[in-house]
Amino acid sequence: MRSVWIKRLCGLLNHKKQKRFSLVLGILILLMILPGYLLASGGEEVRPSPASLTANVIKKVFPNGLTLLIKPNYDHELIAVNLYARMGTLYEAPDQIGISTLMQRCLLYGGTTSREPNIIYRGLENVGAHWNSGSGADCGNVWMTVTKPGFYRALDFYFDLILHPQFVEWDVEIGKREGIEKLKGINDYPLNTVSILFSQGFYGEHPYGRLTIGSEETIASLTREDLVAWHKKIYIPNNMVFTVVGNVDPEEVITEFEKAFGQMKKGRLPKQSSQSIPILEENIVFYQPRDVGGAYLVLGYPAPSYLHKDAPVMEVLNTILGSGGMGNRLYSELRDKRGLAYAIGSSYQQMVGPSLITAIMITAPENFQAAREGIVTEFKRFCEEPVSAVELENTKKWIKGTFAMGQETTAAQGRLLGVYEILGHGYDYPDKYLSLIDAVTPEDIQRVAKKYFNHYVLAVLAPEGTIGE
């Protein structure tokens, strides 16, 4: 056990010289940590401090900028591999919105320059791999989860997909058709429609106001050549963060990545859209009448972006307001006490660019005004009165507990490391994050609420006549 940990720690410090220094370093580290640890553990085995969520993560940045994060975890047979890269609507040209989503889909399904699609599928699935890809507004990923015996076989196919996708014409056309057909079905679901209505109203011309899948026009205009060019632009080593979590030998993993990606050349990182969002000078309501049974409301205010110092404050506020299921203010006041809704909650959408916090509610059309007033009252309460010490403490406990529970699975641990690293916080943010949450005060919440909760955007999908004049 000891030698495993020494290897991991050496990997963190200096992988190439690890063998030479392992003995000396190992003794030094053990001397430093052993007495305290023995007290805590009864001397069973050496483990990193439980206070740190990322202490055993090995970070390797290759000379070409590719980042590899390895988190060994020997509790399971599983290994989760995840690639994150900056892509998505934030980086797309207005006439190419949806290109990342289409590229990610076709990357998996069109085969590679040396393998037919079916060879890839069977290669991965012969060893039981579960695999997929996707793209959001700020980044995209390609993931694979597999058990240890098939790991290296699957990794060969996984690397091939990422490095040499063929983007065959016929599959690109199928992908485009799929995208366009999916768009047609989106509005069959009232919650989709009202969310789109809200995003378009809130973001205006900013790419966040567009669907990540694109529009019928943009999808139709995309070509195989566009995908090849976009792949070349996005899949550059300095735009890629890989995470490998699970039952692996870090040294072997680093060697495999070096072989596969070591020769790639650095490139210029994709540029974010510079489009601004509309300035809210008054409350704005977007109403779409439709013959539905309920009234669907999305009401939102601007909020701090992902990397903003006030983001942890808004996260605490959002938890008190309406996230986390039963027990929050919206749920207690509007559902539990007043029976106004079956579904109600809030969401803080932390984006790299302009961000927002929304409350979402489905209510009876005749309750629309009461629901709207109830939601606004709950937002404004944060401006008018500080949250109580008990509520704040309980919320912090909830966030910390949820955060810890969110890392239960191998795949989830990989996702967390990858997202933090690619979006700029750094993979070790989880440790800082918890202390930032701890530091939030009632005054911080009131200050942030006053700063952001001035004018709202409200989107409503409801039967004709629901909202009056």
Binding site: E125, N126, D171, K184, M326, N394
Partner: protein, 450 residues
């Protein structure tokens, strides 16, 4: 580790624990030792039956500081008489509302205050309630669970308020085409059985369900001998058993309710329905009546499902490469006495897709499947199990459910039987059950006007 800092829950000192352990041994019947199948994600586990008939399953999963408790009650819409349609679901809504000790909203606040979450779901023949929290608060979770189980208050004002909430839920469900469609399909496939009952009820039945009816139904079905509690996570089995034995010692058993007697529907020959709805896409759905998951043919049906739809190499994947579909699924759902095998696809060319799905099924029946396909299906399923086995919540839900519909031993045998499934087995069950001649086909189309 016991979370003794939480004031509202009973405190357990070491001496108390030993005392409780002593008494619990007298109160409970310990099941035969388990754990023979080292490869199963479910083993080892401990199962005991308390003196009042309540089954408790505990599985220690020490790799994450989490505890999940799933309470499974053997009741659902299939048990309801026509005038009380929706009552099982109504009770589910009242369950975490409040108890004699905890006011409205307090249960949720207490769990949330330690970083946990809780929720519930009602199905056709089961209702379950779950709480997931950091394992440092295991005793709080058990206390809340036991309190809700025995002392839900059914406050009259809350009953009226919750009725309004359920009416909102009905409205919301009717606005969702997926729910509308699956309800229609289920109604047709299971016509004449209690499984065709509408889970949520109707505005009419809900208006008649009062406190008296709720209490009577609750007292009839929410008896310990009709319940299973699964506790999974970073817990100590003996301590959990002792705590539950103490917390539930006054919970009195009742008569064990049973499902109304019904005949399992026989598949009809080429039943076909075309339904128009407010949708923009066409859906092609094939439904087959099949035996339950844990029956002898269950494992081969599980492999067949994966061969048809388990990965990109699966047979239905061809519909993508032919550019015929937008999405697809193949599911195998199992209840107490029957199962449903469903295949569906979203498409703009429903008649072509219907024909292609039939061709794909006929090919399996006539030519069989390959050894490689069976091996791939097993490998995919194995990885899926390993992924399930990482989550305390999934494990708790699965363990309580399998114990309810049969037994955990049967579920473990199912895993072993999966490994033994041959390509001949797959061909045989395809011909016997997933046969286009025995399919009930639904074509869901956009309304003409749209």
């Amino acid at each position: 580790m016991f979370g003794l800092s939480v004031k509202t829950r009973p405190k357990f000192r070491v001496a108390t624990i030993f005392l409780l352990l002593f008494f619990s041994v007298m109160l409970i019947t310990i099941s035969p030792a388990l754990g023979e199948n080292e490869d199963s994600i479910f083993t080892p586990f401990t199962r005991v039956t308390l003196a009042n008939g309540l089954t408790v399953i505990v599985k220690e999963m020490r790799f994450a500081p989490i505890v999940a408790v799933d309470i499974r009650v053997g009741v659902g819409s299939a048990y309801e008489p026509p005038e009380l349609l929706g009552i099982s679901h109504y009770i589910e809504h009242m369950f975490f509302k409040g108890t004699k000790r905890r006011k409205v909203g307090e249960i949720a606040r207490e769990i949330k205050s330690v970083g946990g979450y809780l929720n519930a779901a009602t199905s056709l023949d089961t209702t379950h309630y779950y709480v997931v929290a950091p394992s440092a608060y295991t005793d709080l979770v058990l206390d809340v669970t036991a309190d809700a189980l025995q002392h839900s208050s059914f406050d009259p004002t809350e009953i009226d308020r919750e009725r309004k909430v359920i009416l909102e839920e009905i409205r919301m469900r009717q606005d969702n085409p997926n729910i509308r469609m699956s309800d229609q399909i289920r109604l047709e496939l299971l016509k004449g059985t209690p499984y065709a009952n509408n889970i949520i009820g109707t505005p009419e039945t809900l208006s008649h369900i009062d406190r008296e009816a709720l209490l009577a139904y609750y007292q009839k079905y929410y008896v310990p001998n009709n319940m299973i509690v699964a506790v999974v996570g970073d817990v100590d089995t003996q301590i959990v058993l002792a705590q539950l034995a103490e917390l539930l010692k006054n919970f009195k058993p009742g008569d064990l309710p049973s499902l109304p007697v019904f005949e399992i529907p026989q598949p009809t020959e080429n039943a076909r329905f075309e339904i128009e709805d407010d949708i923009s896409q066409n859906f092609v759905c094939f439904g087959f009546s099949v035996p339950t998951f844990l029956s002898n043919d269950g494992p081969a049906l599980g492999i067949l499902r994966t061969i048809l739809n388990g990965g990109r190499s699966a047979r239905l994947g061809k519909l993508y490469t032919e550019g015929l579909i937008i999405s697809k699924s193949a599911d195998y759902s199992s209840f107490h006495e029957l199962g449903i095998f469903g295949i569906s696809a979203a498409t703009q060319t429903p008649s072509t897709v219907e024909k292609r799905i039939q061709e794909i099924l006929w090919k399996v029946i006539e030519e069989g499947v390959t050894e490689e396909e069976v091996a791939i299906a097993k490998a995919i399923i194995r990885t899926g199990y390993a992924m399930d086995g990482e989550r305390a919540f999934s494990m708790a839900c699965m363990m309580s459910r399998y114990e309810e519909i049969s037994s955990l031993e049967d579920r473990i045998r199912y895993e072993q039987a999966l490994e033994e499934v041959t390509k001949e087995d797959v061909q045989r069950v395809a011909e016997k059950y997933v046969n286009p001649q025995r399919a009930t086909v639904f074509i869901l189309k956009p309304k003409e006007a749209k």
